[in-house]
Amino acid sequence: MALFLRPAAIVLLALAGVMALREAIAPLSTEKYERAHRFPVVLFGDSHAGDVALPGVPRFSTPAQDLVSTCFHMRAFAAARPADSHTRTVLLTIWPDKFGPIAEARLQEWDGGDGWVQSALGMSAPVLRFGDLFTSELPLALRGQFVLQSAQLRRIRKRMGYAPNQRHVPADYQVRLSAKQLHEPWFEQASVSRWAFARILELADEAGWNLILIEHPLHSVYFPQLNEEAVADYASAMQAADSLPGVHYLALGRDSLAHTAFVDHHHLSEEGAMYVRGPLLRALDAVGSEYVLPQP
């Protein structure tokens, strides 16, 4: 009894306590989503969301955030929709690495050892649900992490402003991608990321949002290194998404920009962010968004 049952009961009691506490603080995050519904445009994604130069747009993003977490953030946002929601357009930053070997390995393995579980997945704790353990399409390791991470007593972070980045890479900038990105047809292997992307498209359709997929310009050292088959698969998936009603793919990834537009091979300096803003505002206009760029 004291050797096995008592400690088991204590752990179960702790689990119940954690879940109760979590439910108690969940409204604090829900409130942020409810407030975001007052805005016509809301932004989701990873660190690239920080390079979107649209002031006054609520953004729910974390560096290195995976597509599964993004999907759950969007699900939580949809669930918090009040009757008088102003949000008609949702922006999502996307690029090939969201389906890349590193992103997929993080989602499929228990712990990649790079701290991503704590730094990125853990930041999504408020939107991870105990019930996600039963999402049978997802790897068991990831579902286990959902359960563990969902115990965190965090509040969701919402940012509003855009902080311009003045730095840029040198003219002779080089970067070497991982061997897997070079040689493997990783898009085909990215089952979890593709599952999440498909759910995001479904969610946008169900919620009646215009979904704009923003692919930022990527440094010229990036695309030539990638596995051609994987890139072709990615492009075809994006085109397929673009053909869906209400979905718009802003394909700027291969646009040729000077090195001064980049902070590294996939993050933008202020110059790069300003370059993206034009097409993005036009896309917002095209979908009839009420977003108005605040005057400086």
Partner: protein, 503 residues
């Protein structure tokens, strides 16, 4: 310069899912074989091999070698009364164990000093690179096996004639990698006799495990973020550095004593009592008391196997002073092959020796009076000063940090904004009413948790460990709260390796 890169590998980590599957499994096997000591010892030995060889099974051979040599030496010592032969057999044990320790832990350090010495007289030797993997726990189990050979040599204990029991004594997994360092006279008889686990023992064992996990995950790993910031950020000055050093003092205490609690608690579940390793050292009134309360198993080892053989205090004050200094310096070196550890030991020796000269090092601890608070504060300050050397990246870093401590005491170095920058690992601070900085909720909650922990430590120190776990504190929900906190904080930040795994 030569680069001997010492890399540790990790056994099953106490704070891991693997351990929480491993422990009940081993426990169930142990319970199923209740009453059959030999079979239970097989379970413990195999479990210990799995535990230690989890990441890298190569070093099981080293422990097997150490086990075989000391077992054989013990048997030989038991068979002969010839003084020269006995010395030779003991010499073999010392040579094997200390030789392994010297190679894995100190070869790189000695080679670096050798090359640096030649370089100072203008002879530049070609650097060569090698890679020595430091087997985790080598300093602990080496001392444990050595104590067996010495005790058999001194005829304090009879030689063990059961190889399985002896191997289990050397490898007993709860204390294998970071102690407490057990003596054969205490642990071996427990392994050899029939063991039973009462309900009370099981409750105490689990409570110690949960308390240890709480100390490690909630306190040590969280204050580690402040310590890492202070020791890693060259912009930190004065008060922030002091806070960082105090944070490290708390971190290393909760990390190491947490490990010891988990080890002692785990052993209790198998019907084995390990020796206490910590007794609230930061409430000590002087350094003598501190060293009777800190890492007790190592310090008593040094007393019995180094200080007393050197002559102890039997040959006059001067010789005794030399022996004390040797013990402190060797204690520093035991932690690692680096001058910073030697300096850490040296600082303790420097502050301990005056007490020793005045005969106050063995003063009875007695009743606590209010003015003892000042003495405890002074002692804690000295200990923290020494921790700077222990935690810094090297001597130069430690001295540079001590220099920086004198700066930044004005309003420019100590205000809400610098604190917000220092504790950036929490959510951003907000502007509170009246324009002042408001700490994030998470940081405030942690402040309360830390205060409660310190209060519990104080009450245990004053009223005794048993007192605190009576009445309402013995209720299961108290332990559930500890597990809850560990879960919440354990997923909040990356778990840090136990500090003493590196030794």
């Amino acid at each position: 310069m030569t680069r001997f890169r010492c890399v540790t590998f990790a056994p099953v980590h106490f704070i891991s899912i693997a351990f929480w599957l491993f422990l009940p499994t081993v426990l169930a096997c142990h319970v199923a074989l209740s009453g059959r000591v030999r079979a239970q010892n097989w379970v413990l030995w195999v479990a210990s091999c799995v535990f230690y060889g989890w990441w890298d099974a190569r070093f099981l051979l080293l422990i097997a070698g150490s086990t075989a040599v000391d077992y054989m030496v013990g048997l030989r010592l038991g068979k002969t009364d010839d003084a020269r032969r006995r010395k030779a057999w003991l010499g073999l044990s010392l040579a094997f164990n200390l030789g392994a320790l010297a190679w894995f832990k100190y070869a790189g350090f000695l080679a670096d000093q050798w090359i640096a010495a030649w370089a100072s007289v203008g002879v530049h030797m070609d650097p060569w690179t090698t890679r020595i993997v430091l087997p985790v726990g080598i300093s602990f189990y080496t001392f444990q096996t050595l104590s067996y050979s010495v005790d058999v040599y001194r005829r304090k204990i009879p030689p063990c004639r059961d190889l399985l029991a002896f191997a289990t004594y050397v490898m007993f997994f709860p204390q294998l990698v970071a102690g407490p360092i057990e003596r054969a006279s205490h642990l071996l008889p427990q392994i050899q006799r029939k063991r039973s686990v009462t309900g009370v023992a099981a409750r105490i064992g689990w409570r110690l495990i949960f308390w240890g996990v709480f100390k490690k995950v909630v306190i040590a790993d969280t204050v580690a973020m402040y310590a890492n910031e202070a020791f890693g950020n060259p912009a930190c000055t004065g008060p922030l550095l002091i806070i960082g050093v105090v944070a490290f003092a708390l971190q290393i205490y909760c990390d190491f004593s947490g490990y010891s609690d988990i080890a002692i608690g785990t052993a209790r579940l198998f019907g084995i009592r390990l020796r206490s390793n910590f007794r609230f050292p930061y409430f000590s009134r002087d350094l003598g008391e501190f060293w009777r309360r800190w890492h007790i198993s190592l310090n008593t080892w040094f007393r019995d196997y180094l200080y007393i053989p050197l002559g102890g205090s039997r040959h006059g004050k001067v010789r005794a002073l030399r022996n004390v200094a040797v013990v402190f310096l060797v204690s520093g070196l035991w932690h690692g092959a680096d001058w910073k550890f030697v300096t850490w030991g040296g600082v303790h020796a420097l502050f301990f020796i005056p007490l020793f000269v005045m005969g106050r090092n063995r003063k009875e601890e007695g009743r606590w009076r209010w003015w003892h608070g000042f003495q405890a504060l002074w002692t804690f300050g000295v200990v923290c000063f020494a921790w700077v050397f222990f935690r810094a990246d090297g001597m130069a870093h430690a001295l540079e940090m001590l220099g920086r401590m004198g700066r930044g005491w004005g309003p420019e170095g100590w205000n809400a904004a610098t604190w917000a920058d220092f504790s950036h690992f929490w959510s951003p601070c907000k502007e509170g009413p009246g324009g002042g900085m408001q700490l994030p909720c998470e940081e405030t909650i942690f402040g309360w948790v830390l205060s409660l922990f310190l209060l519990l430590e104080w009450v245990q120190f004053r009223r005794g460990v048993r007192w605190i776990w009576r009445g309402i504190w013995s209720a299961p929900w108290v332990e559930a709260l500890m597990v809850m906190a560990a879960w919440i904080y354990g997923t909040r930040h990356a778990s840090q390796e136990f500090i003493y795994f590196a030794f």
